[in-house]
């Protein structure tokens, strides 16, 4: 399973301890501190959270962040020595990637748990050092600010990522609490609802369909498995990013979520920006940074797109199948850029969306299964052409099994499909335009309702 869909330790962003103890105490402590101490105070809050989750791992993350900070300082020191700078950057990349690999491989084999932030903290540190290396951002001398960027606990679950320069520029820890806290709080609650209520139910359904014995697997169950996986992944990951962005807003650290209804994109280029866009952006910049100015050449640009796709795929899971997923998406991005882009922009919007959805859905088996042959087997189960289906053919009993799962979860599935589209979002926008005051009240009531449902799902 992907690390973002794994069960997390007892205290996490969607636990009762966090919602009703840690969060209120943290926000109160943060705003009670004088503005000049808030950065350090927030870092201390992050450290407490990490220690509560896993003390040893917390020390590793802090150590890694210190290492990345030292790398950044060395880059500033070796300002004129090109090879020394390259060496520092290479060492920094090697150490951070090693940390990811060391945690991911045993966890993927089921021999160890996934550790909080193993795929986020090293990447945040590495991309920040990359910015220093490419001189896009000036050198950092404040360790606390750098550490806050890398160790801000809400984003350690799955992002969002972001440029260090923007973090430094936009962070405002000295503001006073007021009504403007409602918006980030609302974003946090929506994210928590996605993860703890909808995402959790979809992950349950996914597990149930996946556990169907071979003789009960049908074409319908194969499609259901892939579609439910797509929704579970979207709601879980985007929920974590919403929560992180909401909490960031609460503490004065603005962040993009990186998700905006990706499954209804009009093309794959659009999809790449709307499906964990901050990740592909961060990886893309890192990859292009390797090639410097040559990245603008067509051939190198294509190579960069494939490399970005591959790395993004590997970020989800370190195996060949996930790499293929990233390459598959990158292939269509390249095709759209260089071959079919104009033709696509001429087709009706609905057709474009259908094309995007089809390409994405057919790619999901590669992300779902850990081995390419298993992914292909699932694809063959979805498209039983010429009797090539690998399904068990258990007849009516097999169809009843999947129909039972679908019918006994119809509400979660229907809500999932609805929330994958921007219909509700458009409705809210319209309401805000036509009746701003009413919309405020309605949204607060909805937020409160969601908070109740989140709590109900956790007790």
């Amino acid at each position: 399973m992907l690390h973002v869909l794994e069960a997390w330790p007892p205290i996490n962003l969607t636990s009762l301890s966090f919602l009703f103890v840690f969060l209120p105490l943290s926000v109160a402590a943060f705003y009670l501190l004088p503005p000049k101490w808030r950065g350090k105070g927030l870092l201390a809050i992050c450290a407490v959270f990490l220690f509560l989750v896993n003390p040893v791992w917390a020390l590793v993350l802090i150590g890694l962040t210190l290492f990345n900070f030292v790398c950044g300082r060395l880059l500033a020191r070796f300002d004129k020595r090109v090879w020394a700078r390259r060496g520092v950057m290479a060492l920094c990349a090697a150490v951070n990637l090693l940390v990811i690999v060391i945690v991911a491989l045993p966890a993927q084999r089921g021999e160890a748990p996934f550790l909080l932030g193993f795929a986020v903290c090293p990447l945040l540190g590495l991309t920040a050092v990359g910015e220093f290396y490419r001189r896009e951002t000036g050198p950092e001398s404040d360790f606390y600010a750098f550490a806050l960027h890398c160790l801000f606990f809400p984003r350690l679950y799955g992002g969002p990522f972001g440029r260090y320069g923007e973090f430094r520029e936009k962070t405002n820890l000295s503001r006073q609490p007021g009504a403007d806290l409602f918006e980030p709080l609302s974003l946090f609650v929506r994210g928590a609802f996605k993860v703890a209520v909808l995402g959790a139910r979809l992950r349950d359904i996914l597990g149930t369909i996946d556990a169907l014995p071979a003789e009960q697997q049908t074409t319908l169950s194969a499609w259901s498995l892939v579609l439910v996986f797509g929704m579970a992944l979207y709601f879980t990951l985007s929920g974590f990013c919403d929560m992180a962005a909401g909490l960031g807003g609460l503490f004065g650290i603005p962040m993009e979520t990186g998700f905006f209804y990706p499954y209804q994109s009009r093309n794959l280029r659009n999809f790449a920006l709307r499906f964990h866009g901050t990740l592909s952006k961060a990886v893309g910049e890192m990859v292009r940074g390797l090639f410097g100015d040559r990245a603008k050449e067509t051939a190198v640009n294509i190579l960069c797109t494939f490399l970005t796709g591959a790395v993004v795929g590997l970020w989800f899971r370190l195996d060949f199948s996930s790499l293929l997923w990233g390459v598959w998406i990158a292939l269509f991005v390249v095709l759209e850029r260089h071959l079919i882009g104009k033709a696509l922009s001429a087709v009706p919007t609905a057709l474009g969306r259908l094309y995007n959805l089809l390409v994405v859905v057919l790619s999901l088996p590669f992300l779902l299964r850990g081995a390419p042959w298993e992914s292909l087997s699932l694809l063959r189960g979805m498209i039983p052409i010429g009797g090539a289906s690998t399904t068990g053919g258990g007849g009516e009993h097999a169809y009843n099994a999947i129909l039972y799962i679908l019918s006994s979860n119809w509400l979660a599935l229907a809500l999932g499909v609805l929330l994958c589209t921007s219909l509700l979002h458009l409705g809210v926008v319209r309401l805000k335009e036509s009746a701003p005051r009413v919309s405020k009240v309605v949204l607060r009531v909805v937020d409160l309702g969601m908070l109740v449902l989140i709590t109900a799902s956790l007790v």
């Binding site: 301890s17 009703f20 209120p24 099994a401 039972y404 019918s407 006994s408 109900a456 007790v459």
Partner: protein, 375 residues
């Protein structure tokens, strides 16, 4: 004081009150929370989460809300328990493929060794509620076909052991109150119908009628183990009833024997146990590894039963036909079996729920502990 300052105070006050309310509202004076604080931070986090789950204000209402939403969303099965207007039913799926073979071979071997003209061996597999009330299960749901399972298992005993068919009887009576609505067991009435079939096969010369029994009630609002797992408010609570044989002068002694205890009740229904908070224990004193029922029924017929919790439903009726019945709870097999079981029996009955027979090797395990009884 300025309005802005007031707002700030209210803001921080609310923030600080939330954890206070969550943590200490219920345990303010008990100090229970402090006992849960462990030295290790991770353990502390786990303890805190567990404590909040247990003690968060309105947690029961929130759980009900969560369940209601699940039901509205079509999820009429929770943790393997089906929810219907007729009651809660535990689903049954084969989870232990070799269990049926192991139990069947153990009984066949036992019958071969110990069955003779004076001592007959009987087998009754009792279907569970989900096997009989299939019309109440959600659409497309799948549970084991208990009718087929029981028939095919009985076929394997053909000629070796006398089987007692109860499935069709219970199916015919499925609209009556034969299964508990909140507990995974037969009601006393269901037990009576099972007993009727047993009587027909084991003591065909004797007759019994429901009119011979006086009915009394222990409580009408019993919520059993299934309800504890799935607190669905739409299910009607169970009514605990006793069927007392009307013949004057009938005396019973029920002896419960466990690893380190021995209790004696001079009634089939020690009602005071129900009043002490364990209503189901009012039937034969509840389950224990060995239960011995002695009666003043004329004659020396003795019955040994290898059973499970279903015995609580039918054994009070059978007690009126034997001078002694020994029930060995196969799901709680222990060395106590060796001490408690007497030597000579007229009949030996294997009677357990389809779930016990299908998904555990309890009968085989129990038999492996008992042969010395028959030496």
């Amino acid at each position: 004081m300025k309005v802005k300052t007031m707002k700030k105070i209210v803001f921080f006050g609310v923030l600080l009150l939330i954890p206070f309310f969550a943590l200490f509202a219920r345990y303010l004076y008990s100090g229970a929370y402090l006992q849960e604080v462990k030295e290790q931070p991770a353990d502390f986090a786990q303890g805190l989460e567990g404590h909040l789950q247990a003690s968060l204000p309105f947690s029961r209402s929130l759980r009900r809300l969560s369940l209601s939403i699940d039901l509205a969303g079509g999820k009429w099965e929770q943790d393997g328990i089906f929810i219907s207007a007729a009651g809660l039913m535990r689903g049954l799926e084969p989870t232990m493929p070799q269990a049926v073979d192991v139990n069947t071979l153990a009984i066949l071997e036992f019958a071969e060794d110990y069955q003779n003209e004076e001592r007959r061996v009987y087998l009754a597999i009792l279907p569970t509620a989900s096997g009989v009330r299939q019309q109440n299960l959600p659409r497309f749901s799948s549970t084991a076909n208990q009718r087929n399972f029981i028939e095919s298992t009985y076929n394997r005993f053909s000629g070796a052991v006398t089987t007692i068919a109860v499935y069709n009887t219970l199916l015919d009576k499925r609209d009556q109150y034969i299964y508990c609505r909140t507990e995974d067991n037969l009601t006393a009435l269901g037990g009576y119908y099972v007993y009727e079939q047993m009587l027909g096969r084991m003591l065909s010369s004797e007759r019994s009628s429901l009119s011979q029994y006086d009915i009394s009630y222990l409580q009408g609002d019993y919520h059993g183990d299934l309800y504890q797992a799935v607190p669905y408010g739409g299910v009607q609570p169970d009514t605990l009833m006793f069927y007392r044989y009307g013949e004057v002068g009938r005396e019973y002694t029920v002896t419960k024997v466990g690893q380190d205890y021995r209790k004696v009740y001079h009634t089939l229904y020690p009602e005071f146990l129900g009043e002490l908070g364990e209503p189901m224990d009012a039937y034969l004193g509840g389950m224990s590894p060995v239960t011995v029922i002695n009666t003043n029924v004329p004659g020396q017929r003795r019955l040994l039963v290898f059973g499970d919790r279903t015995a609580l439903a039918y054994l009070p009726f059978l007690a009126n036909h034997y001078s002694e019945i020994v029930l060995l709870d196969v799901t709680d097999a222990s060395s106590v079996f060796l001490e408690a079981a007497p030597m000579n029996y007229s009949q030996i009955l294997f009677a357990c729920g389809a779930d016990t027979y299908m998904n555990s090797t309890a009968i085989a395990t129990a038999l492996s502990l008992t042969p010395q009884v028959f030496q």
